[in-house]
Amino acid sequence: MEFISAQNVCFSYSEIEDGKKAVNAVDGVSLDIKKGEFVALLGHNGCGKSTMAKHFNAMLVPDSGKVYVDGDDTSDEDKTYDIRRKVGLVQQNPDNQLVASIVEEDVAFGPENLGVPPQEIRLRVDEALKAVDMYEYRKNAPFKLSGGQKQRIAIAGVLAMQTECIVLDEPTAMLDPNGRNEVMSTLIKLNKKKNMTVVLITHYMDEAVLADRVVVMDNGRILTQGKPEEVFSQVELLKKHRLDVPQATELAYKLRGCGVKIDRLPLTTEDCVSMLEEVLG
């Protein structure tokens, strides 16, 4: 069952620059996302992935083509808040996501906007904070927390709206390795345990590897998509578009080039070690 369905979406930011007609930021993208799926959108800055993200919760509406969320057309203005309740968006800068000066009040912001009764908000806030392991920080001031903690609170803020899908636009780009791990393991936990649909927009391939499906975008179009091992085995294509592949995959790919017989290119450290053991005997 498709939860989000984008059909031939085109979009351009209407400003006309230097007299030239603005090019499409997204140029004919069709993409279906199933309920409970973990999808990574991978690509360079300016490839259209962030623009695409904003289409998933009706922050942007396609110039042509359609986006349906749980059956609702995002261009239907009566459905806007319905859609935003179902699909939460978390953005890059951890400092600019949080609006209240106390953690729990920030998490309450979404349900408050939805007009949820106070006692129920309390329950949802506590549950959401526990889900991201930030419950003990509920009385803290956000500006004293680390970037990873702030992003987890932003995720909790989305959860408290009882969303069915979280879209994250480069949530780890401004974090240190610890913060990145915190956010990634939170997302995996939510996906696996709560069957949350996750759309992760990133340019880190080591994060994309963790997804069920990787969609690579370039120049406003989908370049290739599939399971991580399918996508990253296309080393040449990715290199041509100057995207990274995991070092494990690259090593195996180069060995294959030297005439070593390797059936399946590894993604992780462990896969690569066992592949090398097999080859070396």
Partner: protein, 270 residues
């Protein structure tokens, strides 16, 4: 260093005053401020002074911190009281050239000093015992009636909330930008006033640019979380008046009647 500045001098605690509904605190403060200026003789003035000491003691915040809050305005207090001292009317009891001191002048100086000090102490008590968010909520709730005449109560409260949230962030950012420009040899500590003001341009411009970028981001984040103004919005924390608030109102009401009685029983000196 800029980052040491903390906004709002809230001292978390669990005292009787801490636990009052913030709306009660604001209303009581207003009543108290009115009554300070309605003290017309020394008896009512001392009643107010004693009451002031009383709430300072039960507020659970160290008197030292209250003294600190007075330090800032000590100069203003001194100037006003000295001016009042010399501008009294009536028979001079001491004279030197054109400068004269009258009984009325002394009275005025004493009253003005005590009134200002009480005013500062009472407002400090409010900010010391109430978190900024509680204050904002209380103001929003108290102003609700005037929303009917199309005053944007919710919007003003939302702006205050966001300001409280982002002041520390922007202070930290200012600090970072200053360090970065210093690393490029910016000199902010020498030269005349014009060069010093000019030296702040490389700090102010990036700060403005960043504030606008943040504003845009925050607006997007708020929209994503279904924000659409105050209509139909609920709050997680609902303000409750309890018996405690009733008691506080009763105490202040008693004090006010005491002041009125004192004013009526004894001749006014002011």
């Amino acid at each position: 260093m800029v980052r040491d500045v903390t906004l709002g001098q809230f001292y978390p605690g669990n005292s009787f005053i801490h636990r009052l509904d913030p709306r009660s605190k604001i209303l009581l403060l207003i009543g108290y401020l009115v009554i300070i200026f309605c003290t017309f003789n020394y008896l009512s003035l001392s009643l107010v002074t004693i009451f002031t000491l009383f709430y300072i003691l039960i507020s659970g915040v160290s008197p030292k911190i209250y003294l600190k809050s007075l330090k800032v305005i000590i100069v203003i207090v001194l100037i006003t009281s000295v001016l009042n001292l010399f501008y009294g009317t009536g028979e001079p009891i001491w004279q030197w050239g054109i400068i004269s001191i009258t009984m009325n002048g002394i009275n005025r100086a004493v009253f003005v000093t005590i009134r200002i000090v009480c005013l500062i102490l009472a407002s400090s008590c409010l900010t010391f015992t109430t978190s900024p968010t509680d204050l904002t909520d209380a103001i929003e709730s108290l102003l609700k009636p005037i929303a009917k005449i199309h005053f944007p109560v919710h919007e003003v409260a939302m702006m205050m909330t966001l300001a409280l949230r982002f002041v520390p962030t922007l202070l930290e950012e200012t600090d970072k930008i200053m360090q970065a420009q210093k690393a490029r040899g910016a000199d902010m500590d020498s030269g005349n006033i014009v060069t010093r003001v000019k030296a702040f341009i490389p700090i102010l411009i990036p700060l403005f640019v960043s504030a606008f970028r943040r504003a845009y981001d925050v607006a997007t984040a708020m929209e994503c979380r279904c924000y659409h103004g105050g209509a139909g919005r609920t709050r997680m924390k609902v303000l409750h008046m309890t018996k405690r608030d009733a008691a506080a109102f009763a105490v202040v009401a008693l004090m006010i009647s005491g002041v009125i009685v004192c004013n009526m029983m004894f001749p006014a000196v002011m």
